[in-house]
Assembly symmetry: C2
């Protein structure tokens, strides 16, 4: 099949997936470019592929391929340079916390930060990521690009963090916050079962959540620097927690 018109019903449906509202309504999201489409295929979430007319896919798939013209691709893509392929994927509804290493993200807003954190969480063996309900939508195209495909291999849940923390406390997870002034050096802690909470770029973790942390961590650094980027701070903490578990 080749679609040449941006007014085609199918194309209009795909364009609606560029907004968070459209994605929620249809339970679908888009990924752009060969690398992300291939990761989507591997994860089993890929439903359909839109390929630029006359182009050849760089990976194997048994999914339906719809060929589209440049103007149609341009309409669906978020990128300045349109990709050769866009994948239509199913949103996986996760609801179950798995594993001993949990990362809780309280109202993180920057898509690049969320994506980078998801990528690092995979690298440092986090089992489940829980995002507060007011966090940025992870199916946003900028988040997807920053995860470098790691989203497809992660267990990610949206929930009310206070409820989640109370539940985790009962199951003996150590609840870890951060405190630049009075925290424990992250290198000095050894813990098997933890939930690390990281907060919003500007305001940090909200007060009612901060109060129920069991322990606050600190990253050793030059005092003249007030703080690190939240994706960097999260990554260093996870890196250290991961090492403490494997050494």
């Amino acid at each position: 099949m080749l679609i040449t018109s941006v007014d085609n019903k199918k194309i209009k449906d795909y364009v609606s997936l560029k907004t968070s509202k459209g994605r929620k309504e249809k339970g679908l999201f888009l990924v752009e470019g060969s690398h992300l489409c291939e990761e989507a295929e591997k994860s089993g979430l890929l439903q359909e592929l839109l390929v630029l007319d006359k182009m050849k896919l760089e990976f194997d798939t048994n999914k339906e391929i719809i060929y589209v013209t440049e103007n149609v691709m341009k309409k669906i893509s978020n990128l300045t340079n349109i990709p050769m392929v866009i994948g239509v994927c199913k949103i996986k509804e996760n609801k179950k916390i798995e594993g001993n290493h949990i990362l809780l993200l309280d109202n993180i807003q920057d898509p690049g930060n969320i994506g980078t954190i998801i990528r690092s969480a995979k690298a440092f063996n986090v089992d489940t990521i829980v995002l507060s309900d007011d966090s940025v939508d992870i199916y946003n195209d900028k988040v997807l690009r920053s995860t470098q495909g790691m989203l497809f291999h992660s267990n990610i849940i949206y929930d009310n963090l206070t409820n989640v923390i109370n539940k985790l406390k009962k199951e003996n997870y150590l609840i870890l916050g951060t405190d630049v002034n009075n925290g424990t050096d992250v290198r000095d802690i050894k813990v098997d079962k933890y939930a690390l909470i990281m907060g919003n770029e500007g305001h940090g973790v909200r007060k009612e959540i901060k109060e129920i942390c069991d322990k606050n961590l600190y990253i050793k650094m030059n005092n003249s620097c007030e703080s690190l980027n939240v994706a960097v701070a999260t990554s260093i903490l996870l890196y250290e927690l991961n090492r403490s578990n494997h050494e």
Copy 2:
């Protein structure tokens, strides 16, 4: 002085500072918002302030203040929500490598990554950052915002990296690269005088530079994850190198 027209000569000059070309021609750059303007003031680079009509500055300064109307501010600002104040700063021409901890960045292109790296470099006691001549312009507004003002307290140079490395080698700096497969665990290295080289987001460090590294480093992580975001990887390596120097 109150300027109300976007056609004012001074305003046109400021608008030209939104491009890399304009900044190079005039030797000036802009910073937006109270926090960055205050950091600029402390650093001595602030020349002049543009303040929204009827607003009051949140910090002390003896620099010239020009009041502007909302439409003028909108024309100069890069932000969706215009700031209350924009600072006009002088570009400082650095040419001298200082200190024992040098970070070399080979063709990093994402402004957010560069800004985040500059912020982390300050936190982990890097003395000088050298950017390859083809790296992104650090006076780009997105870089400035991501540094959180740390740019004003950093020694940053643009230069040809091969020449710089050859010079550093003669001065007994250990030249450190990265290698995911055959590198040395960064935690196992102790070095006082080093130059760490980090490469482009997509292509890594260019071949001719990789070849002259004395040692390659590695960050311990889950094998299923191909790589980390470059700002995260740089930050973890600097964090470890900084600790090895202070423990």
